[in-house]
C-alpha cells in the first residue's frame, strides 16, 4: 500500500474525501464492538459516519440496525465527548434503524446522572427513542429538566416535550406549570472561573422554547392565551427576541379567531412596532397588514400607517435580510391595496439599484404594482434604464409585473407596449424570457382591443427574426386567429407567407393553417383568391406535413363556399373544456370493449365560446392575485391556518382560496351527477353553482350544497360528511321545502338518499325538481333526516340488533337566484357594450349589516356569477364609494347581460344602485332585483 492510499484511508484529506461507505461501515462495526472501547477512534469513526449520512448517503435497514446496536455498546464508556457523538449518531440513525428503543434506559440514566455537558444531548435524543407506550416513563425526568437552572438543559427538555406532544400529549400536558415557570425564570449560565468571561452569557432562548410549548399546550383555550399575552407583553418579561416574535404570532392567532380582539391589542401592537428588535417590528407589521387585507374595516388607519412607516424605515437599514423581509411584506400589500404604500416609493426607487438582486427585483415589482394611471410612464422609463443589467430570471419577474399592469390599466397600453416591444427587440435572452414577453403582448392583443393592431404588427416584426420555433408557432396561430378581423388583413398575409418561404417545416405548417383562415374573410374576394393561390403553391412543398395541411385547407375552403361546416372547422368558435375532454378520452380509451365501434361522444363535453374562455382566463388571473395575498396571513400552525381560512371564507365566499382544487371538485361533482341513471333524461347540464357551506364546519354533520341547472329541471346536491366517530347514519336524505309553498313553480320529482354514511365519510344526496323553462328563483328550507346507528367498535359496522332512531337536523337554506342562470363572460369594451344593450332595469338596495366595501363587492360577484371588468373587483380603500362593472351571459340562451353597480358607504350602512341591461328582459330584471 503506497503512502498515498494509506493516507487517504485513515486521515481525512484536505479535500474532504471520505473512505467509501462499506469501509466506514466495516470499521464502525469492528471498532465499536471492541473491548475495551477506544474512545478517540470511535469518535473519529462516528464523525465519518455522520458526514456520510449528512451527504445524503443512507444504509439499508438491516445495516443501519446493526450499526445502531454496535453504537449502543459505546454506552459502556464514560467519556462525555464520545457520549455526545453517540447521541448525534443515534439521532441520525433513528430514522433508518429499527429498535432504537433499546437505548432508552441508557439515555434516561444520562439524563438523571450524566454531566451537564451531555444532559442536553441525552434529553434531545429522547425525542427519537420514546413512543406512546414509553413516554410516560420519562415524565419525571423531563419535568425536573424543564425547571433546571441550566438554560441548555431546560431548553433541551422543552424542545423534547414539544416534539413528544403529538406522540404522547397526555404526559406532556402535565408540564404546563413547569413550562410557565421556565418562561418567567431568566436562566443564566453559571460561570465558575475566570476563563468564563469568554463564554456567552445567556440569550434566554429558553423563554422562546417554553413559550412555544405553552402555546401548544393551551392553544385551544382562548382565555389562557389572552392571559399569556397580557402577562408577558408587559414590561421586560421577555428578553429573547424569538420569544417576543412568538408572542406576536400568538396575538396573530388570537385575532384570527376573534377578529374583534384587534382593538384590544392596538396599543400593544403599536408599542411592538417600536421594539428594539427588527424581527419583532417586522412580525408585527406583517400581522397588521395581513390582517388588514381581510378585515380592513377593523384596522385603524393610524395603526396601519404606523406599520407601513415601520416597514419604510426598515427599507433603508444596512442589513440585506431586513430590507428583503420588509420589501416582501410591502410587496404583498401592494397586491391588494397598492395605494397604501405609495409613501414608500422614494425608498423603493432607491432600492432599484440595490446590490442584492433579490432586493432590487422585489423593489421593482412592488413599484410597478403601486403604479397608477399617472405614473406608469415614468415607472416604465425608470425600469428601462436598468432593465438590461439584470439577469433573465429577474427580467421575467419584471415582465410579469408589467403584464399585470397592462391588465389593470388598459387605457395606459401605449407606454407598456412600447416597453415590451423595446425589450423584445433590443435585448438578448433565452427562451423563457422571450416567451414571457410574447405572452404579455399576446395578452394585450386579446384583452385590450384598442392596442390590438399595433401589438400584432410588433409581433409580426418580431417573427421576422426569431430563433425559437415554439414562439413563432404561437405568434402565427395568433395572427391566423386575429388577423382576418383586422382592418388590413393583407399585411398579415404577407408576414405569414414570408415565414412559409424562409423557415423550417414546423413553422411552415403552422403558417399554412394561419394563412388558410384568411381565405374566408367575407367581402374580400381578391384577398381570398390570392390566399388560395398561395396555398396552391405551398401544396408543392417538400415536407409531407406542410403539403397535407395545405391540401386539406384548400379542400375546406372549397367546401366552405357551399357548406358552413368547413367554415366552422377553419374558424372554430368553440373550444372544448380541455380537462374534461382529456378525462373523457382516457375513459373512452380504457373502457372501450367494442374496439372503437361506437364513436367518441363529443357532445357531453362542455364547450366554451371565445368570450367565455377569455372570461375564465381573466378570472384566473384575478384570482391568482387573491390567492397570493391569501398566503399573507402568517399562521404558524396548520390548525391556526385552517381556522384562519375558515374565517376568511366565512366573510368572503368570493374569489379566493384554492380555486384550482375547487374547479377540480366541481368537475368531479358534475361527473358523479351525470353518471346517475335518473338524471340522464334531464338532458345536458346547463350550469352548476359553486359549493355553498350550509353548516358550521365544526358541526356534527357538515353539509354543503351545489345547485345544478338543467333545461327543465333543477337538482340540488347536498354533500354530507359524518364527523362523528362512533355512529353511522342510514338513509340520509334532505327534505327541501320551498319557502313559499303556494306560489312555487317547482315540482319535486324524487330524492336520492345516501344508504349509509360511516364515520368521516362524505357522500352526496340529491333532490330533483321539475321546473318550467326559463328563470325560476326559489329559496329552499332544508332539513337533514337520517337514522343513527351505533357502531360496534370492533367491526366498525352497526350492531345488528340496533334499530337506530330517526333524527332530524336543520341546515341553512339554499337559494336559487338569478345568478345561477348566468355564466361570466368577457367583453373588451364594457361601456360600449353596456350602451348597446336594451332593457334597462334599476334597483336600489340598502345594506344594514356592517360590511366593508370589499365584502359587498365579493358578495355581488358571487351572487351574480358575472365577471368583474376593468379591474373593478377591488375597492379602493380610502374612498367610500365604488363602481362595479359586471358582465355575463345567460346560461340558458346565451344572451348578454351587463350590470353597473354603484356602491356608497355611509355611517348608516351601504347603499347600492344597480343598473342592469340585457338582451333578455326578464333575466335582466330578475338579476337586478335579486342582487342581495
Amino acid at each position: 500500500m503506497s503512502a498515498q492510499t494509506y493516507k487517504k484511508k485513515y486521515e481525512i484529506s484536505p479535500s474532504g474525501d471520505l473512505p467509501d461507505k462499506m469501509t466506514i461501515y466495516q470499521d464502525c462495526m469492528n471498532t465499536f464492538n471492541e473491548s475495551p472501547v477506544n474512545a478517540k477512534r470511535c469518535r473519529l469513526l462516528i464523525s465519518r459516519l455522520l458526514r456520510l449520512l449528512a451527504n445524503g448517503d443512507t444504509f439499508p435497514q438491516n445495516e443501519a440496525t446493526a450499526l445502531f446496536f454496535s453504537i449502543s455498546k459505546l454506552f459502556q464508556h464514560q467519556s462525555d465527548s464520545l457520549r455526545q457523538s453517540v447521541y448525534l449518531a443515534i439521532k441520525e440513525l433513528s430514522g433508518i434503524s429499527e429498535d432504537v428503543l433499546m437505548a432508552t434506559s441508557s439515555i434516561m440514566k444520562d439524563v438523571q446522572n450524566g454531566s451537564d455537558l451531555i444532559k442536553p444531548n441525552a434529553l434531545r435524543s429522547l425525542t427519537y427513542v420514546l413512543d406512546e407506550s414509553t413516554a410516560f416513563s420519562a415524565e419525571r425526568l423531563l419535568k425536573s429538566a424543564v425547571v433546571s437552572k441550566n438554560p441548555s438543559i431546560s431548553s433541551a427538555a422543552l424542545c423534547t416535550s414539544y416534539n413528544l406532544l403529538p406522540i404522547s400529549d397526555v404526559t406532556i400536558k402535565r408540564f404546563a406549570n413547569e413550562t410557565q415557570e421556565a418562561i418567567v425564570d431568566l436562566k443564566q449560565f453559571v460561570l465558575l472561573d475566570e476563563a468564563s468571561e469568554f463564554y456567552p452569557t445567556s440569550t434566554f432562548t429558553t423563554q422562546y422554547h417554553a413559550l412555544g410549548l405553552i402555546y401548544q399546550l393551551k392553544r385551544n383555550d382562548k382565555m389562557a392565551l389572552l392571559k399569556l399575552v397580557n402577562q408577558f407583553s408587559s414590561g421586560n418579561a421577555l428578553k429573547n427576541q424569538f420569544a417576543m416574535v412568538q408572542l406576536v404570532k400568538i396575538v396573530d392567532d388570537l385575532i384570527h379567531r376573534d377578529t374583534q380582539l384587534i382593538s384590544n391589542f392596538e396599543t400593544l401592537l403599536t408599542s411592538w412596532l417600536d421594539s428594539k428588535y427588527e424581527s419583532v417590528q417586522l412580525e408585527t407589521a406583517k400581522l397588521i397588514t395581513s390582517f388588514a387585507t381581510h378585515h380592513s374595516h377593523l384596522v385603524g388607519n393610524r395603526l396601519f400607517s404606523n406599520a407601513v412607516s415601520t416597514l419604510q424605515t426598515m427599507l433603508s437599514t444596512p442589513r440585506v435580510t431586513s430590507r428583503f423581509a420588509a420589501l416582501r411584506v410591502l410587496n404583498r400589500i401592494s397586491m391588494v391595496s397598492p395605494e397604501k404604500i405609495v409613501v414608500c416609493n422614494p425608498e423603493l426607487e432607491s432600492l432599484i439599484n440595490d446590490s442584492n438582486r433579490n432586493v432590487s427585483t422585489y423593489a421593482i415589482t412592488t413599484l410597478l404594482k403601486t403604479g397608477t394611471a399617472k405614473n406608469i410612464s415614468s415607472l416604465i422609463s425608470t425600469i428601462t434604464k436598468f432593465f438590461h443589467e439584470v439577469s433573465d430570471d429577474f427580467k421575467i419577474i419584471i415582465i410579469d409585473a408589467v403584464r399585470t399592469l397592462s391588465l389593470n390599466f388598459p387605457q395606459e397600453w401605449k407606454p407598456i407596449l412600447d416597453f415590451l416591444t423595446d425589450v423584445l427587440k433590443n435585448s438578448e435572452g433565452g427562451f423563457n424570457y422571450k416567451n414571457s414577453i410574447v405572452e404579455a403582448i399576446i395578452e394585450i392583443v386579446s384583452f385590450i382591443p384598442q392596442a390590438k393592431e399595433l401589438a400584432m404588427e410588433q409581433l409580426c416584426d418580431f417573427i421576422e427574426d426569431c430563433e425559437f420555433n415554439e414562439i413563432l408557432v404561437r405568434v402565427l396561430h395568433l395572427l391566423g386567429k386575429e388577423g382576418p378581423h383586422t382592418s388590413t388583413p393583407s399585411l398579415y398575409v404577407r408576414h405569414i407567407y414570408n415565414r412559409v418561404v424562409l423557415e423550417n417545416s414546423i413553422i411552415r405548417s403552422a403558417a399554412v393553417v394561419a394563412l388558410s383562415k384568411f381565405a374566408l374573410i367575407k367581402n374580400n374576394t381578391p384577398l381570398a383568391e390570392s390566399v388560395v393561390g398561395l396555398l396552391k403553391r405551398i401544396s408543392d412543398d417538400e415536407d409531407d406535413e406542410v403539403r397535407d395541411r395545405a391540401t386539406i385547407s384548400l379542400k375546406f375552403i372549397d367546401s366552405a363556399k357551399k357548406n358552413p361546416v368547413g367554415e366552422e372547422l377553419l374558424h372554430s368558435k368553440y373550444t372544448y373544456d380541455l380537462s374534461s375532454l382529456e378525462k373523457k378520452l382516457t375513459s373512452y380509451m380504457s373502457s372501450n370493449s367494442d374496439a372503437f365501434k361506437t364513436p367518441f361522444d363529443v357532445t357531453s363535453i362542455p364547450k366554451y365560446t371565445e368570450d367565455e374562455v377569455k372570461a375564465m382566463e381573466l378570472k384566473k388571473k384575478q384570482q391568482s392575485f387573491n390567492s397570493s395575498t391569501e398566503e399573507l396571513g402568517t399562521k404558524f400552525t396548520d390548525e391556526a391556518e385552517e381556522t384562519g381560512k375558515r374565517l376568511d371564507s366565512a366573510t368572503y365566499h368570493g374569489a379566493n382560496l384554492d380555486e384550482h382544487s375547487k374547479d377540480l371538485q366541481s368537475t368531479k361533482y358534475i361527473d358523479e351527477l351525470l353518471s346517475i341513471e335518473q338524471f340522464k333524461e334531464f338532458g345536458s347540464l346547463i350550469n352548476s353553482s359553486k359549493t355553498f357551506p350550509l353548516t358550521e364546519t365544526e358541526a356534527e354533520f357538515v353539509v354543503n350544497g351545489v345547485k345544478h341547472l338543467f333545461k327543465e329541471h333543477v337538482v340540488l346536491q347536498f354533500n354530507i360528511t359524518n364527523t362523528l366517530t362512533d355512529v353511522a347514519l342510514d338513509n340520509v336524505a334532505v327534505v327541501c321545502s320551498s319557502e313559499d309553498q303556494e306560489s312555487s313553480e317547482l315540482k319535486e320529482l324524487f330524492t336520492i338518499p345516501v344508504d349509509r354514511l360511516l364515520p368521516s365519510e362524505e357522500s352526496a344526496c340529491y333532490v330533483a325538481f321539475k321546473k318550467p323553462e326559463g328563470v325560476v328563483m326559489e329559496s329552499f328550507l332544508n332539513n337533514l333526516t337520517f337514522t343513527t346507528r351505533e357502531l360496534n367498535p370492533d367491526t366498525k359496522l352497526p350492531f345488528d340488533d340496533d334499530e337506530g332512531f330517526q333524527d332530524e337536523y336543520e341546515i341553512d337554506p339554499l337559494v336559487l337566484n338569478a345568478g345561477d342562470y348566468i355564466k361570466s363572460s368577457f367583453v373588451g369594451d364594457f361601456s360600449a357594450s353596456f350602451d348597446e344593450l336594451p332593457n334597462e332595469n334599476v334597483a336600489v338596495y340598502n345594506v344594514q349589516e356592517s360590511m366593508s366595501l370589499q365584502e359587498v363587492i365579493d358578495k355581488l360577484i358571487v351572487n351574480t356569477s358575472c365577471l368583474a371588468l376593468e379591474n373593478t373587483q377591488y375597492a379602493q380603500n380610502e374612498t367610500n364609494q365604488h363602481t362595479l362593472k359586471l358582465f355575463g351571459k345567460s346560461a340558458l340562451n346565451g344572451t348578454k347581460i351587463a350590470l353597473i353597480v354603484k356602491i356608497v358607504k355611509s355611517k348608516k350602512g351601504i347603499a347600492l344602485k344597480a343598473q342592469g341591461r340585457g338582451e333578455d328582459a326578464t333575466l335582466s330584471s330578475d338579476l337586478v332585483n335579486g342582487l342581495m
Binding site: S72, F75, Q76, Q78, M102, A103, S106, T134
Partner: protein, 183 residues
C-alpha cells in the same frame, strides 16, 4: 523495565482486560437491583429497563463490564445483539414467581444454545429469598433443569438483592471459574 514487569503482571492477572458479563432474566426478577448492588453497594429504586444498563466495576482486581439487559418480552429478542465476547452470564430468577418458571427455563436454555455463549460460565441467582414463599435454590435448579447442562461451568446461589445476601458469594464463584478457565 519495572513498567514492563508490572504490565506483564497486570496481564497475568487480567487487570487490563475487561470481562463482559451479562445479567439476564425475565422482567421483574431483580437484574437492575443486582447490578447497582454490585456497583454502588446500595439498593436503588428501579423502573422496568427499556433497553439496557451498563456499568463498569472492579471486583477483586478484575475490571468487569456488566450489562443488565431488560427482561420484558418485547426486549428479550434483542439480548442476542449483546452476546459477543461474553465471559459469563448471570441469570436472575424470581424465586417467588412459580408460574413463570417454565418461561424462565425456556429462555435460559434457548440462550445457552447460542454459539457465541458456548464458553460462557453461568451463574443463576435464585433471587428474592427474603420474600415469603420463595422456592429454595435446589427447587429452582430443578425447575430450570440445570442438571441437563453439559460442558458448562454453572452454579446456582440463593440470593436477596434487597438484603445483599448471596450476591458476593455468587460473584466470587464466578470470578474463580473465569480465572481458571479463561485467563
Amino acid at each position: 523495565m519495572g513498567n514492563f514487569f508490572s504490565s506483564m503482571f497486570d496481564r497475568l492477572w487480567g487487570v487490563n482486560k475487561e470481562l463482559r458479563i451479562l445479567i439476564l432474566g425475565l422482567d421483574g426478577a431483580g437484574k437492575t437491583t443486582i447490578l447497582y448492588r454490585l456497583q454502588i453497594g446500595e439498593v436503588v429504586t428501579t423502573k422496568p429497563t427499556i433497553g439496557f444498563n451498563v456499568e463498569t466495576l472492579t471486583y477483586k482486581n478484575l475490571k468487569l463490564n456488566v450489562w443488565d439487559l431488560g427482561g420484558q418480552t418485547s426486549i428479550r429478542p434483542y439480548w442476542r445483539c449483546y452476546y459477543a465476547d461474553t465471559a459469563a452470564v448471570i441469570f436472575v430468577v424470581d424465586s417467588t414467581d412459580k408460574d413463570r418458571m417454565g418461561t424462565a427455563s425456556k429462555e435460559l436454555h434457548l440462550m445457552l444454545q447460542e454459539e457465541e455463549l458456548q464458553d460462557a460460565a453461568l451463574l443463576v441467582f435464585a433471587n428474592k429469598q427474603d420474600q415469603p414463599g420463595a422456592l429454595s435454590a435446589s427447587e429452582v435448579s430443578k425447575e430450570l433443569n440445570l442438571v441437563e447442562l453439559k460442558d458448562r461451568s454453572w452454579s446456582i446461589v440463593a440470593s436477596s438483592a434487597i438484603k445483599g445476601e448471596g450476591i458476593s458469594e455468587g460473584l466470587d464463584w464466578l470470578i474463580d471459574v473465569i480465572k481458571d478457565e479463561q485467563l
